[in-house]
């Protein structure tokens, strides 16, 4: 292993880590601004120009608050819960290709931390792991509302993983590979997978709302029934870690959806642009395009949150098991038939 390789990966990992945290921090501001816009009010505008420093002020507030650990709680697991939630949220960004190879003098640097050939399955595994933080935190609080939230989080995540996995299978039939890098490569220009898998994309989108615990699927923290759900007993920065994990999850889910269905860093006319600006600048433009797609998805997440009310719990389960799973299976069957017929022609 050469030194340059290690440095390259280290810089890339640090950059992605900082990017995820910055985007998550400013998502909290964006959420409140968008909520304000949708409800015809101003939103936070006191800290800095247009509320620019609001995330910093919020972070400082979280640090300064008194940390309360309930007497009857399980101390170690109470701290482990939010840490695990943030850890699993950040792990997901490791396999996402952020741009085409960057050429710096003699070296070509792939803008992806790890190109493993089971990339999609890795993402799926990380998503299924994400619920542990909520469950452990909710149980360790030793509070019945927290426990209810934890149990809801577990059953919801298990239920919505199934249609999510099934919609990925239909996508795999189209792409024929599990490597995210190859999947993005196949969508060069405007040849995006959404054109071949429209139903699969909608299923995946609904499931990612459920897996990130966003409204209308935020039953685990439903404040009208459960006080605060799994984080009822949390205060200060541990509470902040749970909140941050949610926003990082949203960022990673948006990146995955852009990569799988919306061409990742590809955009129509990218070869023409690359011919003009050269191989140094073109990857940066492609990366900016990916970030734009991600921000569009994050906006969509927020738009839905402030538009649609929360589901009732039985409605949530009925939607998952009786609507999404049959649709996902039908999608696989249709995709399989179309591919077979197309190959025979």
């Amino acid at each position: 292993m050469e030194l340059a390789f290690v440095i390259e990966k280290f810089v890339l990992i640090t950059a992605i880590f900082l990017l995820s945290l910055t985007v998550a921090a400013y998502s909290t501001l964006a959420e409140r601004k968008i909520a304000g816009y949708l409800q015809d009010r101003v939103g936070p505008n006191r800290a800095g120009w247009g509320g620019m420093f609001q995330p910093l002020a919020d972070g400082l507030k979280m640090f300064m608050k008194e940390e309360i650990i309930p007497t009857d709680s399980n101390r170690f697991l109470f701290i482990a819960g939010p840490s695990l939630a943030l850890l699993t949220a950040l792990l997901g960004s490791a396999v996402i290709p952020w741009g085409p190879d960057l050429v710096l003098g003699e070296r070509t640097i792939p803008l992806q931390v790890a190109d493993i050939n089971v990339g999609i399955l890795y993402i799926f595994g990380i998503v299924s792991l994400g619920v542990y933080g909520l469950m452990i935190g909710g149980w360790a609080s030793n509070n019945k509302f927290s426990l209810m939230g934890a149990v809801r989080a577990a059953s919801q995540s298990i239920s919505y993983e199934i249609p999510m996995g099934l919609s990925l299978i239909a996508l795999l039939l189209v792409t024929n590979t599990l490597s995210l890098r190859e999947i993005v490569g196949q969508q060069h220009g405007g040849n995006w997978n959404i054109l071949y898998q429209p139903l699969g994309f909608i299923l995946f989108l609904v499931c990612s709302f459920a897996e990130t615990n966003r409204t209308p699927f935020d039953l685990p923290e439903c404040e009208t029934e459960l006080v605060g759900g799994y984080h009822t007993e949390y205060s200060g920065f541990k509470m902040g870690a749970f909140m941050f994990a949610e926003y990082v999850n949203m960022f990673v889910a948006s990146a995955v959806m852009s990569t799988l269905y919306f061409g990742g860093y590809n955009y129509p006319g990218m070869d023409w642009v690359a011919g003009i600006v050269g191989p140094m600048i073109a990857p940066l433009i492609a990366m900016a395009v990916l970030l734009l797609k991600i921000f569009a998805f994050i906006f969509f997440f927020m738009w839905v949150r402030w538009t649609i009310p929360r589901f009732r719990y039985d409605q949530l389960m009925n939607l998952g098991w009786k609507v999404l799973i049959p649709l996902a299976i039908a999608n696989i069957v249709i995709t399989g038939i179309v591919i077979t017929v197309y190959d025979k022609l």
Partner: protein, 180 residues
């Protein structure tokens, strides 16, 4: 010794020491599963044990098995375990005292299992390392090809077995009381 030979020797040494480290961790955490008093802690240790198994599979170059172990065992089955235990909310106070006969039965059964395992281990030839004909067999593409050509029948039979289990579970859950 040539430098490249030295390098391959050092990577072999590294992978062996990595194996011993991970093996130690697996055994350590599986012991903790048995010895911890709180059932929730047992399940959490079991999750870490499964994670070390995933690392073992990666060391054996079986990527698909590793990731499936990760998704199915760590991501789904253990979540259900934890879910059920949280609903029951067992702890030391609420646990009913087991009778002595039950304890004796457990001891006898455990010892029988131990004797069987030791006996079967003794008959194995420990010095025979298993060498795969194709070291890349664990990669998704190769595994899929083998499963759908050479081992098609066992593969289909096991999928029917899983389907039967699923239908059975649905049937059990759907049985409604006749006197309604």
């Amino acid at each position: 010794m040539q430098p490249h030979k030295l390098q391959s020797l050092s990577t072999a040494l590294m992978s062996i020491s990595l194996f011993y480290l991970v093996a130690f961790l697996s055994i350590f955490f599986s012991l903790l599963v048995i010895f911890s008093k709180n059932p929730i802690h047992s399940v959490l240790y079991l999750i870490i044990t499964f994670f070390t198994f995933t690392v073992h599979y990666i060391l054996l170059n079986a990527q698909f098995l590793a990731i499936v172990n990760f998704i199915v065992y760590m991501g789904a089955i253990m979540v259900l375990f934890l879910f059920v235990l949280m609903l029951l909310n067992l702890d030391e106070d609420s646990e009913p005292m087991k009778s002595n006969i039950l304890k004796m039965a457990g001891l006898v059964a455990g010892l029988c299992l131990l004797i069987t395992l030791v006996g079967s281990m003794k008959s194995l030839h420990m010095s025979d390392p298993v060498i795969l004909k194709n070291p890349d067999l664990g990669l998704v593409k190769n595994l899929g090809k083998v499963l759908f050509s050479e081992f098609l029948l066992p593969f289909e039979i096991s999928s029917i077995l899983l389907l039967t289990a699923m239908v059975g579970a649905v049937l059990l859950a759907k049985r409604e009381p006749k006197t309604a």
